[in-house]
Symmetry: C2
Subunit: 1008 residues, 2 copies
């Protein structure tokens, strides 16, 4: 084996490769950027209709990623190689793999995988779909079909390839750490960059002056805006200042000086600027009349040719025998979720299509791997079934004259239907005689029918997120690169998304994606098997499950149940081969949650455990065979080692301090400029917690626990582990609390106060957890509403809906007799006075907002909206009671006598509704005995009902008196001539109408 | 001929070339820099003892150079390729030329020349010596031996190669404009960079907000200082901020917001920061124990081997016959001035060395070209002449005892001198007998003598500026690369600066510098002639003169007298071949001064004229033969076209406005923060001008002219032509004034007010010119002294010495009876009151400073310092009178009776000096007739002398009474007993002593 290329040779080699493939070679930018994307050669040139192919190196600065050069592959500066291919050359994945081969990475030796990645840059107003490219578990590149940049939709869609050069060279040179990389000229990467790395980290994390950087940011922003206001706008100078804003923000952020809410503000401003810059650039190119459109030069040449569009034949092949039909959609790697969605839909849509097409068929099977969706149909009929249809025409007497000769009406109808007048028939229809035309539709050849319908079948597939990639602007989960529709041995000619159907499928990536021409549909499964591709999802899942179980067993362990992960992994490979990796035992000292999160979420590895304890092993599933498996395993182990080393670095740094120390750091983390720091917020939570503990009736001991938990609940936000792995917030808080000897219950409450974190998440189990969680959410809601940041129809950047929903869920779950109003007022007490100038309106808004979430929750649970509204109108302030009320009301509304009960009550309400005054009740005045009877009934009922009664209490008391009400209205004229009598009768009805006050507002119920 | 490489191919090709020669490939920097030098890969890595070889591209931003993309090769951004070779590999010029050949520039086809360039960056505290490399007149690279960086002396010395990539590709692709360059991938340079270029120009010149940029600068500076104060200092973050300071300053400067004096302040601050950064970096490397010293890797390998050090032989070759001696110092291209200096010195030192070495010789001739210094000696003796020397010992009587036997003293002496006691002789010396040892020094072989003395001969050569280049740290004008010392056919072994003497010389660069081994010294001239090298300076000059005259004649013109240029050109070539170039006639519309300045100063071309009018031709002298001369001519024409286009661009922009418009722009050009803008200064000059016009007695009409000239005199500083070609200040002012119809005399005064610009420059011829010039200089002196910026011993950043000297020269030249004191007070009147809080002291300082310049001038003119001081003490306030006084005094001091005159006068002074009071003069009291006689003489003299008398007036009146004074002192006892008599006598002497008051202070004269 020859010596692998040095770092600098790799760069030159890539540049030569892409230059040979038609790319312009460009230079790194003259401002600090977070990624090559920010270079105007990408961020601007991708805009508009002009072609653009470019390749350049970009040293990329991400202060947050700094590790003081103590991590094997995380640095605040890493080197990207950026390639833009616009428009899509048709085979960008092949070109990309070719570039890896050019530097010596053999796709047969490594597990090179395209792992779903939806890229988004809020700061740039940009997004795209594509993949991370993994080499043996290591992310080495990002591959993105750029859909939008600077708020502008992109057409044509550019392909963006971003190579992480250090990581690639790490793999290539088989080094354990980037610092050991051979740079060239006898120097290592550390020789050249280690000291600057440490210095930048020190500057970014410890030394940068927050005040001065904040001022710089403002100046940069002002200057960017000035450039944009110039006539015409100065695009590049403006962009340069936007980049400076961005980097300055990143340093401030690394410095811990940007709070969650403040961050949103920064992003909004930067996005706005980016949009303006993009708009100005587009306008500029338009003024210049898109000069690059004039020349056809500079396009990337496709290294390989693919079947392209050809004229659709007019003659469709026919056959007389039932044959097998294969329909395959060849795609670039689908996301796991999209693959499941596509298979599910095809299982429904494919039979439906055939049935609608009147094509008889045998068994239909649907297959799917990341690169292909396939439908195999047994015994497809060669032609549609023919059908006769009759079309009703004019009445017979209008169609034929008295002599029986056809009238103009008959002739017109016949002409319109395309039949001879002589062929018209007369039939009895709908109780009369009508002229009828009999039309026979001959069954068309299956090929013709399918050619027409297959495009619709593809178009009917729906995905959560879709992308465009070529001039057809068709949207799909990922690009479609080949199509097969084979009816027996006959190709069905059709085209979709610029691709023509053919008979050639592609083999597995690990085999170099060879083209395989199928003689016939029946060859398909054999062809895949030859490639060792398992096309059936269930079969693949079973194979993997077996493999991973065996490997776990081989070290005396087992795979813990991870059904979601198994499905995900199943959808990520065509050729599953599980491998067993090992990691150093010392890492087991890290918290289990950390290890599992890293393995599962970041690497899609299966953790191995024994008796519930993790073992120092993992199981990964490669895409490919057993050849070179040792090499792939080695690579994956190295990746995990680096990730664990990262986690260990955080853990050691974190546990060297106490949570109270981190708490103090929250002082510099702004929550919101009007609401102070996160420390201020934590202190508000602490105050509010004692209030809420009282409201919920906690014991003294529980309240003390809650108070301690509240004190520490946000501290972990300042720990490095949580800064890095946000999903571990609360988890690490609990872990670190336990390690420093906090009471177990307090530690648990720290964890629980974040619950529920998502829709189906667990709820807090302990009262202290409940209390702190409520305090946190109430503080956010009241504070942010007061700061003018209530969610709007389209935007809820602080996830206040989820916060309100969490409050409701927790209160309902805990059957808490808890007044939102009182809690909101308590939360208002702890806010800075400055934000509450319009106190009542704000508190009402918050209250209505939470009640609104309660409504949504109940509706989602299937309750009738009118009943929900009826209950909430009276009991919305206590969500648990509202839920109980809705449940009861639902039962009552299901009763056969419900309409009577409701209508009798409604009559009382309706007749009294117009009177604003409350009438005096003087029963003895009324001579009618029925009034007396109703009054008695009312008294009986009222004695059982109060403001705090339940719906059942109320109806149990009210239902019995309903008949009396009915009788009253029959016997008595309420609006008697005598005023006193009239008023007494009205007064009685007013009292009855008021009975459900505080319990339910029946006027909201349908049928009222 | 194959298609030339594209821009991007050139870059890749260079990178591959330098990588193959051991360089690390590095990337452009993440901050905007003015040059690749600012990248830490140069500015820091060149420091300290470690080796470092690197190559990288650097897009370099120089706002001042922006031309809105309207110039063929001047842009605010150009692309450098930077190479650092540290230590010097020994053959960097060859490596450099090899790199040009790698991209397809054939040194045989082009005139590639190394033109002296002393590089200095005040902002970085850095300097070095080397060359611009010209290709057919176009500067394509800078080649520097870096001597100091960030205020640190560099050891080892790095070689810095800076390629101007656009210019190189321009030559390579034979394009007229960089905008037409083929970049690669089907795009031109304009496609990619034209619009950004225009935008940057617009931003830098028109849009950048001065206030905001000034604030940014302050923040950057503060942050840089904070990084430096960190413990340990954060070198790279600090450096980044220094770069931001630098670029921000450059934009402010382009924006016209930085005044001359303010600039000095900025530079001082940036230099200070750079020094601190460099110091911190060095300390850091030291702490890290210079890791690169541990490995020997990464050195550039020399493509070619050169004779290196070899042991000095102990046996020196001998011969019996007189032979020719050749001594050649082979150098990298010497600056023209250094070549002249070296030849002059060798002509003196070489004979002196041979004489001192007692080597007989025939004719000595000294030759010199940019690459070689040679001494050819005819008939050099094979050996030194032998000599006898006698050494005096002890007195004979101490050396021999009474018996004549030698004493211990004799023995000791003999031993000490290395002779036998028996060989001692006794001689009569200095009036006594002494023992004498006779020592014979045998003549050594010439080779031995020369081997010892040649190193000293080289070391004795002095240059204005010298440089070091290798480990020997020898200093010379440029590196010495080979040495020849051939005595006949024998090599004289010696070594200097790491180079051993040999017999191999190098041929001409245009022939690829072939190695030529000389059999014998006599082959030398033939070898050079074979190479078409003209080694004799006078011969070369004559050849050139003839060639250029013929070429001028061929188009009916002539070369205007430019003796300095002819010498310069003669010293820049070994193989002179003149060529005739043409330029477009339209450029003749530009002012002659502009065309001549560009041709002569920038390109070293000879302008061609006819009857005093320029013709559209120029004559250049290439280094090389007639082959490919058309190509070289073409290249030179293109270069001049671009330069003229630049000038035309300025001229058109400038003449589109009136000078008054430019005047207003001076409002934003700060002169000094305490003294306001340049416009403020111009307005002060205008006010002061009327004062001074009155003092100098100008007519009303002259005064009006002066006033108008004063009004406009600084306007051209804001014109683009002057911003670009500073040497044309005043020249353009005159030109533009004439074009806008100002009176001819006013226009002339605008030009003249800058005179004299340098030591030997012309003086203003018109009175208005004199007046405005005086006003300008007086304003600067008074203002800047008041602002605390008087020159110090070592620093005179505002050239105030020259300003004061100019005042004196002009006043003397114009015989102006002009009081400096009054003028200074007038200048003080127009200064901002704020700066003159200590008015009297400041005015006295300024006065003393100007008088001091007057003194210097007189001393430089050869006057005796005592006489100068005597005249200045009384007449310093009026420089012209002081000069006249010194002249007269000099004549008087040369008279034979001078000592008498002076001593008689001195006696009067000395006897009265001790009395502070002024005595009453009452002659009749004195009985001595001699007193009466002296009094009569005094009265006669006093009647002819006043405060305004000249020295001649004074002495003509005084000399006749001197004898009377002498007689008085003989006859009369001054200190008589009688007080009244005594006082009368003293009073008389006091009056005589006071006679030269206001004329001359004779007490300063030697012999007083």
């Amino acid at each position: 084996m020859s010596k692998p290329l040095s770092f600098q040779q790799v760069i030159l080699c890539f540049q030569n490769y892409w230059a040979e493939h038609g790319c312009l070679i460009w230079q790194p930018y003259s401002e600090k950027v977070g990624a090559g994307t920010a270079n105007p050669a990408t961020t601007l040139r991708v805009l508009g209709p002009e072609p653009w192919n470019v390749c350049y190196v970009e040293p990329s600065y991400r202060p947050d990623d700094g590790r003081y050069a103590e991590n094997p592959n995380r640095m605040q500066m890493h080197t990207q190689l950026q390639v833009i291919l616009k428009p899509d050359p048709g085979n960008p994945q092949e070109l990309y793999l070719g570039s890896l081969e050019a530097i010596g990475i053999d796709r047969r030796k490594h597990d090179i995988r395209f792992v779903e990645d939806n890229w988004e840059s809020p700061a740039l107003g940009s997004w795209g779909l594509g993949w991370q490219v993994w080499c043996d578990g290591q992310e080495i590149s990002q591959f993105t079909y750029f859909q939008q940049a600077g708020g502008q939709a992109l057409d044509p869609v550019p392909v963006e390839l971003t190579y992480g050069l250090e990581r690639i060279v790490l793999v290539l040179q088989d080094k354990r750490s980037v610092w050991d990389i051979d740079w060239g000229a006898g120097r290592t990467y550390a020789d050249v960059l280690k000291t600057p790395e440490v210095e930048h980290c020190t500057y970014d994390f410890e030394s940068a002056d927050v005040q001065r950087l904040t001022e710089m940011y403002k100046l940069f922003e002002a200057e960017a805006r000035a450039c944009l206001s110039h006539e015409p706008p100065l695009v590049i100078p403006a962009h340069d200042y936007v980049l400076r804003c961005s980097h300055t923000f990143n340093v401030l952020d690394a410095r811990g000086a940007v709070g969650v809410t403040e961050r949103a503000g920064y992003f909004a401003k930067m996005r706005d600027l980016s949009r303006q810059v993009s708009g100005a650039y587009l306008a500029q190119r338009q003024r210049e009349e898109y000069p690059f459109l004039k020349s056809g030069e500079g396009r990337v040449e496709s290294g390989e040719s693919r079947p392209t569009s050809r004229p659709l034949g007019v003659q469709f092949p026919t056959s007389d025998t039932h044959t097998m039909f294969l329909f395959e959609i060849g795609v670039e790697e689908l996301p796991a979720g999209d693959l499941t969605a596509a298979i599910t839909q095809l299982r429904e849509l494919a039979p439906k299509m055939l049935d609608e097409a009147r094509l008889e068929h045998g068994e239909i099977r649907v297959y799917g791997t990341p690169r292909r969706l396939a439908v195999l149909v047994q015994d497809l009929a060669p032609r549609q079934k023919s059908v006769e249809r009759q079309v009703k025409g004019p009445p017979a007497k209008a169609a034929f004259d008295s002599l029986g000769a056809p009238t103009k009406a008959a002739e017109g109808f016949a002409r319109g239907q395309g039949v001879a007048v002589a062929d018209l028939q007369v039939q009895d229809l709908e109780g009369g005689k009508y002229v009828v035309a009999i039309k026979r539709e001959e069954g068309q050849p299956a090929a013709q029918v399918l050619a027409e319908r297959l495009p619709n079948l593809i178009a009917a597939l729906k995905f959560d997120k879709t992308m465009r990639w070529n001039h057809t602007n068709v949207a799909f989960s990922r690009p479609i690169r080949w199509l097969i529709a084979l009816l027996g041995d006959v190709v069905i000619p059709f085209e979709y998304a610029g691709v023509s159907g053919g008979r050639t499928t592609l083999g597995a990536r690990s085999n170099g994606s060879p083209e395989i021409a199928l003689q016939s549909a029946t060859d398909y499964m054999d062809a895949l098997r030859d490639q060792r591709i398992i096309a059936d999802v269930d079969e693949r899942r079973a194979v993997i499950q077996k493999q991973i179980a065996q490997l776990a067993e081989s070290v005396g362990g087992e795979i813990s149940e991870m059904p979601g992960l198994l499905d995900e992994v199943t959808n990520m490979v065509e050729q599953p081969t599980a491998l067993l990796g090992k990691f150093e035992e010392k890492f087991l000292a890290l918290p289990r949650d950390v290890l599992v999160t890293v393995m599962r979420k970041h690497q899609q590895y299966f953790p191995v455990q024994k008796n519930g304890q993790l073992l120092p092993y993992f199981v990964a599933v490669r895409n490919g065979g057993r050849r070179h498996l040792d090499w792939v395993t080695h690579g994956n182990q190295e990746v995990l080692r680096a990730r664990f080393a990262d986690a260990e670095f955080f853990f050691q740094h974190d546990t060297a301090k106490r949570l109270d120390d981190f708490l103090l750091r929250l002082r510099t983390l702004t929550f919101h400029e009007k609401l102070g720091s996160v420390l201020d917020k934590a202190q508000r939570i602490e105050k509010l917690t004692s209030h809420i503990a009282e409201m919920l009736g906690l014991s003294e001991q529980e309240a003390a626990i809650a108070s301690r938990a509240a004190h520490l609940c946000k501290a972990d936000l300042a720990t490095q582990m949580v800064v890095e792995l946000t999903s571990l917030q609360g988890v690490m808080g609990r872990e670190y609390a336990l390690r420093q000897g906090e009471p177990r219950e307090a530690a648990q409450a720290i964890f629980e106060h974040y619950l529920p974190r998502y829709a189906s998440d667990q709820l807090p189990a302990s009262l202290p957890g409940v209390v702190v969680g409520l305090a946190d959410r109430l503080d956010s809601l009241v504070g942010l509403f007061a700061a003018g940041l209530a969610p709007t129809g389209s935007a809820d950047p602080f996830a206040l809906r989820r916060a309100a929903l969490g409050i409701v869920q927790v209160l309902v779950e805990n059957a808490a007799p808890f007044s939102l109003r009182r809690a909101i007022e308590a939360a208002a007490e702890v806010q800075p006075a400055s934000v509450l100038s319009n106190r009542d309106a704000i508190l009402n808004d918050v209250h209505a907002f939470i009640v609104g979430r309660s409504r949504t929750l109940l509706l989602d649970q299937g309750y009738r909206h009118d009943l929900v509204d009826a209950a909430l109108a009276e009991q919305g302030d206590v969500p648990y009671r509202a839920r109980v009320a809705v449940q009861a009301l639902t039962r009552w509304a299901a009763r056969p006598d419900w309409n009577d009960i409701l209508s009798h009550y409604a009559r009382c309400v309706r007749i009294t509704r117009e009177f604003a005054e409350s009438f005096p009740l003087d029963i003895p005045l009324d001579p009618e005995p029925m009034t007396h009877a109703l009054h008695d009934a009312y008294q009986t009922c009222a004695a059982q009902v109060s403001l705090h009664s339940t719906v059942d209490n109320f109806f149990n008391a009210f239902a019995p008196i309903a008949p009396t009400i009915a009788k009253f209205f029959v016997d008595v004229l309420v609006m008697a001539q005598d005023q006193a009598v009239r008023q007494t009768r009205l007064a009685l009805l007013q009292r009855i109408a008021a009975l459900p006050k505080g319990i339910v507002d029946l006027s909201k119920v349908e049928g009222f």
